[in-house]
Amino acid sequence: MIFTIFKKEFIDTLRDKRTIITMVVIPVLLIPLLMTISIKFTKSKTEEAKNKALRIGVVNLDSSDSFEALLLKIPNEFGQRDFFKFKDTIELKRKVKNEELDFALFVPKDFKSSVDSFYQSKLKIYFHSGNIGMGFKINYFEEFIKKQMIAKRLKKLQIDEKQINPIEIKQLDMATSKEMLAQIAGGILPYLFIIFGFMGCMYPAIDLFTGEKERGTLETLLTTPVLRWQVLIGKMLVVILSGILSATFTLFGLFLSMEVFQLVEDPKIKDLIYQILNVKFILQFYFIFIPLIVFFAGFIISLALRAKTFKEAQSTIAPMNAVIILPAFVGFIPGIELDWSTACIPIVNVVLACKEMIADTLYFPHLILSFGMMIVYATIAVLFSYKKFDNEGNLFL
């Protein structure tokens, strides 16, 4: 009987445009397309910024040309730069404010004499903080000028730089490329799976429970000899399958992004991604992900059963997305790892387990505990939904 109900509900669900859009179209096409567009757009903007000459204003009150000579020594790290000379700061400030100049330098008239006589000269840099991305370029210029001036002074004083700079620090990154990629992918992948898993469950649950109540078909169904729990399980299986399919299509969408939309151009990174998305990862992922989807299904069905209309159900369940997003976001926060306590928190344990799987640093007992806890939460959610389904007050309008 459960299979009869499941089969009918699945056919019915597959014929529902809304479900197909949420379950297939968005994860397979829309997400890869949006990701590709946004990545390509950012890339083209970065390229554009790289090729664009920096517009630097200069007010040099010092009669010597030593500062200008220094400016010319600055390497073209950020592409071309054009210097614009000004007599005073009035026009200069206006142009910086209007972002006609990227930043401007003010050199006082005693610049060379102060430096030469071992005094400290004050150099001013005018900038506009709304000009995003300019900060680190200014820092680079500042550091370069400072270094040059210090080197010059040390030479004059006949001091070796090493004498006042006793250590040279060299940072050596011990993380493997896979671990580095896991930091990024470990946040994004579980986040996408959880969000789409939840959304995949949402529409079928509303349609199969609130929708049936609203359309008056549930009453007829419950007059058949099928037991109430069998009806619930038959329908719930469709909700669960929709959630799983939705997440699977997300995975497929990512594959499409790489293969069709050429989202990842570097073949090394591409190879690494395929190394991550191996059979072991997929099996481990579904092992922990399926109980989460059962938990979602039980939870959403309970809410859908309380609602009287499709609209009411939608307005109750849709905000739950925000509740799900919060723990799903944990994957992006560095320093939070899967341990004995985080393994007990629903959603968080799945996200962190998934992150560890990607980095290949998963401690198997943690996965078992996470799975066990998710089974407990899923059982509670299913029993709760049965309690709601068995309550005649929830079944009729």
Partner: protein, 256 residues
């Protein structure tokens, strides 16, 4: 046969429902100590104004709602003790029940046949008979969502009868239908009686009652205020029409 004895149903009113019904009462008695018998081969009409408790009784008969107290027996089966067995004997049709719009007529009827565990051979025989009788063949593969009200009604009837029930419960089956669509239901109720089935139907359309009824119970505010044969009712009438007599009875009850 349907045997109902001292049937009562109380609903607990939540705050939301108290607001909806504009009452401070924590409980609402929808059905109050109701007893009646529907005989095989006869049509029993349950008559009453809106909110009288007709639908609650029909839902209790169909095992959708649990009674607070009382007994229901359907074809010798105690509904409260063996609800699943009782459901196998019942065909249930209401005016408000919908159909699955994304299924075809044939798919829907087959689905319900499977739920009632009708064997494939028996399904073919019954389907053929009902499809021919109701003229469903031409549109059996059409999606229900694209069908006219009349077509949908025929599918509903077929769905109700596919397991050949002994007892048929019709809860305001013609509400919202035009005369032509209602006609097929009236015909089916009549056919059920002729084939020896037990039929109970609730309505507030007097012309239907006049046309079909053998036995009659009038219910008001959850209580039975009249229960006898329709012939007896007509012979005791003090007004010139069924409608007027019904209103008169309700008013009398209100005053007492």
């Amino acid at each position: 046969m349907i045997k109902v004895q001292n049937l009562s149903k109380e609903f607990v009113l939540t705050r939301k429902l108290q607001k909806e019904f504009q009452t401070n009462n924590k409980k609402n008695i929808a059905v109050d100590d109701v007893s009646f018998t529907c005989h095989k081969g006869r049509i029993f009409s349950l008559l009453g104004p809106n909110g009288a408790g007709k639908t609650t009784i029909m839902r209790m008969l169909s095992t959708l709602v649990q009674p607070t107290s009382g007994e229901i027996e359907i074809s010798g089966i105690n509904v409260l003790k063996e609800p699943r067995e009782a459901r196998k004997k019942i065909g249930f049709l209401t005016g408000s029940s919908g159909l699955y719009a994304r299924l075809s007529g044939l798919e829907l009827v087959k689905y319900f046949a499977d739920l009632y565990e009708v064997s494939p051979q028996l399904f073919e025989v019954r389907k053929e008979k009902l499809f021919t009788l109701l003229g469903i063949h031409e549109f059996q593969h059409q999606r229900i969502g694209k069908m006219s009200t009349g077509m949908k009604q025929k599918i509903s009837l077929c769905r109700t009868m596919i397991h050949d029930p002994e007892v048929i419960v019709f809860d305001e089956p013609t509400s919202g239908l035009d005369v032509i669509a209602a006609e097929s239901i009236i015909q089916l109720i009549s056919d059920c009686k002729n084939s020896g089935k037990t039929v109970i139907f609730s309505s507030h359309i007097m012309s239907e009652v006049d046309l079909l009824c053998d036995d009659l119970a009038i219910i008001h505010k959850g209580k039975i205020i009249y229960n006898d044969s329709f012939e007896q009712f007509k012979s005791q009438m003090t007004t010139e029409s069924l409608t007027k007599e019904f209103i008169h009875l309700i008013h009398q009850q209100e005053l007492s």
